[in-house]
Symmetry: C2
Subunit: 194 residues, 2 copies
DNA sequence: GTCTATATAATGATAGAC
DNA sequence: GTCTATCATTATATAGAC
């Protein structure tokens, strides 16, 4: 693996462990066993490292939401999808721990994040259109219903890990499952099958 | 006002504007027009400033949830309560922007936050028991129903502002109202009155 | 209580030899 | 590509005069 990718690997590990603010470029270099000067040959600055790690997350999200064409998704698929996102966000856990601060500090990162997240939600949202068309969700009188269900599920998908952390709860399969169940619970009144 | 409180006022303003990491004790002293040495006469260190500001938030929350005795709350009261929490969290907006990072960095702050938040949720949760007893929520077959509704509403109450920020949406009354409406939407299927 | 002056350490980043 | 050496800057924090 090339040095640039190794820098990202190491930085991600340290950021997840100690937070990106507490981890200096010197720490990263030391953890890799290279000199600080060498690190700066491969990256311009610390912000670039953070942005590159974010791009890795974005790639993971792209794969996450690239669903097979023409297949009608079920609510179980949705639950599985959210579980996968929990895994992704655990892998990049420093991101949502510091997200609002990070994008406030770096306008370039902010616009990029907002753009990618927006696209991600659009894809996620499509699942719910699929549910409605497949008759999995009952036809509602309120046209905003599907939109709102998607927004709530998305919120759980994004903020369940941070919620567990500020509750003092361990991030383990049982506690993650609680988030999935919360999501299924809020879909319950609108489901035809369940 | 005494100097300690003025330090907290100034620090809160700067933290909200630039993030607590970017603001040094020197910045705070300068913004107040006192010397760095003088600031350290009044506080031991920066962590103490952050903890003291958190205590202010906790006090605001205490007042927030101290409801008049024996009065049966309505769903409108709940909506109003959540709006007030949005105002509180706006006043202390650096807190939820950095919350997971801050409590990871300061174990003392972490245990205190978890404790206060737990108590806060218990009070919030009581509202929902009140709803159930008053017949505002339909009697559900699932005993966990009330708990889950409270958890979802609490999540909106906590994370709606961060959600707006990472969506690139301005924090204004209309966008805040959207959060309230999301909450009312998820209560809808369980309401008897609506 | 408030100031000036300062100690100490760490940060991000660069220059130039190899 | 990698190193050593180093810089300028900033951060937290303290000592001691007033």
């Amino acid at each position: 693996m090339n040095t640039f990718e190794r820098i990202l690997d190491t930085a991600l590990e340290l950021f997840n462990r100690s937070g990106s603010e507490a981890v200096s470029t010197n720490h990263i270099a030391e953890a890799m066993g290279i000199s600080p000067g060498n690190l700066y040959y491969h990256v311009h600055n610390k912000d670039e490292i953070i942005r590159a790690i974010f791009e890795r997350l974005f790639t993971a999200w792209d794969t996450w939401l690239s669903l097979p064409e023409g297949v009608v998704p079920t609510v179980d698929d949705l639950a599985g999808l959210v579980r996968v996102n929990f895994e992704i966000l655990w892998q990049f856990r420093f991101v949502y721990r510091e997200l609002n601060a990070l994008i406030q500090h770096d306008p370039q990162l902010k616009s990029r994040f907002i753009q990618v997240r927006q696209r991600g939600f659009a894809g996620f949202r499509q699942l719910f259109d699929g549910f409605a068309q497949a008759g999995i969700l009952r036809p509602g009188s309120d046209p905003q219903e599907v939109q709102r269900l998607a927004e709530m599920c998305w919120m759980i998908s994004e903020f369940w890990l941070p919620t567990l952390e500020i509750s003092g709860q361990e991030i383990n399969p049982a506690h993650l499952q609680h988030g999935v169940e919360l999501m299924l619970f809020l879909l319950q009144p609108y489901r035809v099958d369940g």
